[in-house]
Symmetry: C2
Subunit: 498 residues, 2 copies
């Protein structure tokens, strides 16, 4: 057991450096003054190199070799060994200088993207993006994933998922979602969606208060976390007892902020529910992006975009936005679920959302498997968008510059969003078997049983199991797209009377 204790102290040091990276990243996105960017790049790159050097320490390799043979370890300890092995094997392939310069390039690209998006000027971001992609290809080469380079990236964000898994999954989803979208488009002609009145302003202060109320009702503990503003909403489980999420504000559209908050609170509840007994180790950390996204999408969509939610939230809405029209829950829910061929992924409805994901997946496949020149990225994006959505992208700000991910070097990340949608629907079906009609729970106004259901089945498990094992543990069935398709066809069928 002493060998394991020494190992775990090193694992904690690695996680402390990771938490510092997370904290400095959070600060960069929320508070940092403009002129701090150079020093921020320096420290992020330094932290990345420090973390990397500790991970690739040959003693870490020897410890892993030895602990993998240790039959006395329990399941929690074995999970830590398994996850550190995976990290170690990848890390030893990357030279420290590469890791440091990649971190620096990412930090610089992020700032360049922010400016480029503001000005809707892809050419201002292109050089930094080209550097990131070249470095990502370099990384793939270090990993030795030359046959299907994109697989290496997909596996980084959701273990075990490859192009050969996603291609048929996405094709299957597309074959049911595209006809659904067509039916809805036809229905909208005779049954138009209600809209927000032109020019009505919803103050940032009122949006903040309203959203904090919703976040608290979901169960977020503000004594152990914060909400701030940033360009792109995100959540960060920085430290035990200190989980922070962000949102953004649009004075003309309170739904943008509300659903960002419900989404990020979903992520943050997962972080707050991780077991503190295993802090600073993989066992005490979220298992995957797909599972993380299932938590955010569950609260944002399965709970937040329902008439039941609005029956509870309407009085709060009226209190904070007294100038808004006298909507009823059904109308608010229609507004919140309006299906549209919009440009922005994070504002997309549940029918088109996965099409947005697939578009990015196809483009990333072209970049990494077919060497698409980056100068052609806007054109490729816009022509695929036209083909799938039937709409012309007016400017890159709402096209290929909209997402933060590429500026952070996160290629292969987007498909986990669709996995999150599928897992969320599967969790909802399973939860309903245990708790009965979920609409009734929501309408009661006391949502604690929902969180209490998720806590032991998902949150407290950390990385004890693999993602697919965890979904099977929580729901009794392996991951499947069927619950999502049942859910989305049922929901929109009833909303649009199909």
């Amino acid at each position: 057991m002493q060998a394991y204790s020494i190992f775990i102290e090193r694992v904690k040091d690695i996680h402390r450096l990771g938490a510092l990276q997370g904290h400095m990243g959070w600060d960069q996105e929320t508070l940092m003054p403009m002129k701090g960017s150079e020093a921020r790049s320096d420290i992020l790159s330094w932290l990345a190199a420090e973390r990397h050097n500790r991970l690739i320490d040959p003693e870490m390799g020897l410890m892993l070799d030895s602990l993998e043979q240790d039959k006395t370890l329990n399941d929690d300890q074995r999970a830590n060994v398994r996850e550190m092995r995976r990290e170690y094997d990848k890390a030893v392939k990357l030279p420290s200088e590469f890791v440091a310069s990649f971190a620096k390039a990412k930090s610089e690209a992020l700032l360049s993207w922010q400016k480029a998006r503001e000005d809707s000027d892809f050419s201002a971001f292109q050089p930094q993006l080209e550097i990131l992609i070249a470095m990502t290809k370099e990384k793939i080469a270090y990993y030795g994933g030359q046959d299907n380079p994109y697989d290496m990236l997909l596996d980084e964000y959701e273990v075990g998922m490859k192009v050969s898994d996603y291609d048929p999954l996405f094709a299957g989803l597309r074959s049911r979602l595209v006809p659904l979208l067509q039916k809805i488009t036809i229905a909208q002609e005779t049954n138009p969606d209600p809209v927000l009145p032109d020019g009505l302003r919803f103050s940032i202060e009122s949006q903040t208060e309203f959203c904090i109320k919703v976040s608290k009702a979901m169960g977020f503990d503000f004594d152990g976390g914060r909400m701030d503003a940033s360009t792109h909403p995100f959540s960060a489980g920085l430290w035990p007892g200190d989980t922070r999420f962000t949102t953004r504000f649009d004075e003309l559209d309170p739904f943008s902020c509300l659903y960002a908050v419900m989404h990020e609170t979903g992520h943050a509840l997962y972080e707050q529910g991780l077991s503190k007994d295993f802090s600073l180790t993989p066992r005490g950390a979220a298992v995957s992006l797909g599972v993380h996204e299932s938590q955010s999408r569950f609260w944002e969509n399965q709970i937040g975009r329902t008439p039941a939610f609005w029956s509870i939230a309407l009085p709060w809405f009226r209190e904070h936005f007294p100038d808004a029209p006298d909507w009823d829950p059904t109308t608010l829910n229609r507004i919140a679920n309006t299906v549209s061929k919009g440009f922005i992924r994070v504002e997309a409805d549940e029918v088109t959302y996965n099409l947005h994901v697939m578009l990015r997946y196809e483009i990333e496949k072209k970049i990494f498997n077919e060497d698409l020149p980056i100068s052609q990225l806007p054109e490729t994006w816009n022509s695929m968008f036209k083909e799938w959505f039937g709409v012309k992208v007016p400017e890159d700000r709402v096209g290929c510059l909209q997402d933060i991910h590429w500026s952070m070097g996160a290629f292969g990340y987007f498909p986990t969003y669709t996995l999150g949608n599928l897992y969320a629907a599967q969790l909802l079906e399973s939860m309903a078997e245990d708790l009965g009609d979920i609409d009734e729970v929501i309408t009661s106004g006391d949502w604690s049983s929902l969180l209490q259901w998720l806590r032991p089945r998902i949150h407290e498990q950390g990385s004890k199991m693999t993602p697919s094992e965890l979904i099977e543990f929580a729901t009794g069935s392996p991951p499947s797209p069927e619950p999502f398709l049942r859910y989305v066809e049922g929901k929109y069928g009833s909303l649009y009377g199909l």
Copy 2:
């Protein structure tokens, strides 16, 4: 030169860890949610140990030995060797475990102090304070400063200053300040100070806007820094291009916030003016607390508490506080300079401020040189305060619990505040010789020549010289209390018509 480059890379790593400590400390004071405190103690303690381990690395000692013999180093490089030698010599005497547990104890004491001060309950803070003092005595023992233990602490905050320096200095000041205070008290009977009207509220939003305007006029660059709120105002030169300061708000008293902001902006201007060419090394860092305090006190008092300042700030004041009485600059200046036997050091006027400092100095001397039992601290404080100020302290919140310093283990720190006052007055006299009448500069509304005078003489010099060398470099004379006594007697003589 290669030896120096390797040395400086290590020095930068040590400073990176110090900057991370500073950042996590800033975050703890301004934003951190309550439940994050345990993890914050952990990371602060870990960073302290990491920093310490790098400092005491035997290779650092060998490098210093060798670089001290290197005749090719220039003055800047020699300053880095000199300052790192001092840090190294102290650090090698402290065991790493001690450093880590001291950092942890400080972080816990800080939280305990916050609560104790809120409840005005010294007994709630006493156990943590006893631990800190016991550990500080342990530290003194490690340093080998048993003869006059308090000297070790004084030297940590202002190199070269000892009890044998402060005792006569303070006695001399007291012999002129106490009679001045008596004369003022008598004058106040026939010439009472104007007061803030009862119950008038100054909104936090307006105070924020007004104070940001003043801070900008002083020259603070908000693109390279921020202002936030915290219990105890402080400033932190966290990273090049990222200097943050804090203030506090009292809705009944806008002067509390204003002068905290002018004070902290003074500190922050020093940090923003340090030479970026020497970032993350002592040469690029502030030289001492006394010099730092001279910058804050210069702006707060020599500039901010003058009729000239109020002639410029009055229109801003009227704009942001339209409900305030129709005061003129003279009245506002009298309010800002009201001499009172108040309880709170940070709100004290320039006549009593140094008496507050001396009280803490005498108590610290008792604690470290005479083993005063900590349970007697409130009683000792209160009886000395009664003796010196003639007033009874009603509760510990405004007595021995008022300052953050002891909860941070900063014993020996307070006397540097008085040094700051002395240096500031000396800088003002010297500045007037170069720029002419300073009141005229202030009244012009363009204060850039003041900052431009300080930049090359103080800020850009970093730690190139020792504190007293620097004051002589800037003013042409070694440090002396006379300019301060001339200043304070002249100013208050004219204010109260003595």
